[in-house]
Symmetry: C2
Subunit: 174 residues, 2 copies
């Protein structure tokens, strides 16, 4: 399934005012812990793929994300299943050679607007972001970028949270 | 978790008579479809590992099995989680490079005897087998081999069903 997505740094208070003005529907809040893995015999950061196990306060998921398909957004193929037992799932992936490269922890508030999920993410060690996402919809990068503008948010970031975290660690260690 | 296991060809009718005599408890029957995968960059048949997705009439599972730990039984480390969505799970494993090497379909009748699961397997293309298994118990290969004798079953097989199927295909093609 195609996951059409954009992301940007954002001041949540300001975005919430815009979401209210535009009539967005608040769906709820979730805590998420994502463990990212690198492949046993290739480098996912160079193939622009991602493989992770997510634990929320409700469920666990195993997710594969393919390379980004355009240069404007973070749109990519996503394949995801619900799994049980976060810890054993991690052990299984490690047993077949996947390498744990880091964890992303965040608090995610979900809104729905014009057929998109709008998510306000408070990410540990990184700060506040907005992500706009539609899963399985018709691929139209303009539409999702227009929605970002409508929220008065600029400076889209095409890097993932785990890439940003690894970058931070690297620059802190220099 | 350690999976202590032995397997042998068996005539189910005769084993059932013995199970009755020994007071085994019948637990139920399940249809199972197992897709086995080879690793993206090593050969699981030479490392004696196994990685599979199982679909039964009740659940789906993702399972890793480590190399056999002795020369007498099929005992090995097993790590297993329940997953949802068999077809997407297969897609995810293929996306990260695992190769589908074949499917094992069987009808499995479960019995419980002396702390062990005794399973009567009717395997498509292979025939009738008995497997005796205990998960997470104290490692005692003698105990499980004694139970096999108690059922009057001989000629233990240390190969997995998928190995037997691949062998069959190979010899049929010669």
């Amino acid at each position: 399934m195609l996951e059409i997505e954009v992301k940007a740094r954002a001041i949540h208070k300001e975005v919430k005012i815009r979401l209210d003005q535009l009539g967005a529907k608040y769906l709820g809040v979730e805590s998420q812990e994502d463990i990212y893995f690198d492949h046993p015999c290739k480098d996912f950061s160079s193939t622009d793929e991602a493989f992770r196990i997510r634990r929320t306060n409700k469920n666990c998921y195993l997710t594969y994300k393919g390379p980004k398909i355009d240069t404007k957004t973070k749109t990519r193929v996503e394949k995801e299943i619900i799994i049980r037992d976060f810890d054993i799932a991690i052990e299984i992936l490690k047993s077949v050679g996947f390498k744990d490269i880091g964890v992303v922890k965040k608090r995610r508030q979900y809104y729905h607007l014009n057929g998109f999920n709008v998510m306000l993410d408070k990410v540990e060690e990184l700060g506040d972001f907005v992500e706009i996402e539609k899963k399985g919809g018709k691929y139209d990068p303009i539409e999702v970028l227009d929605l970002l503008k409508l929220l008065n948010v600029e400076n889209q970031i095409r890097k993932s949270y785990i890439e940003l975290l690894i970058e931070n660690k690297f620059s802190n260690n220099r």
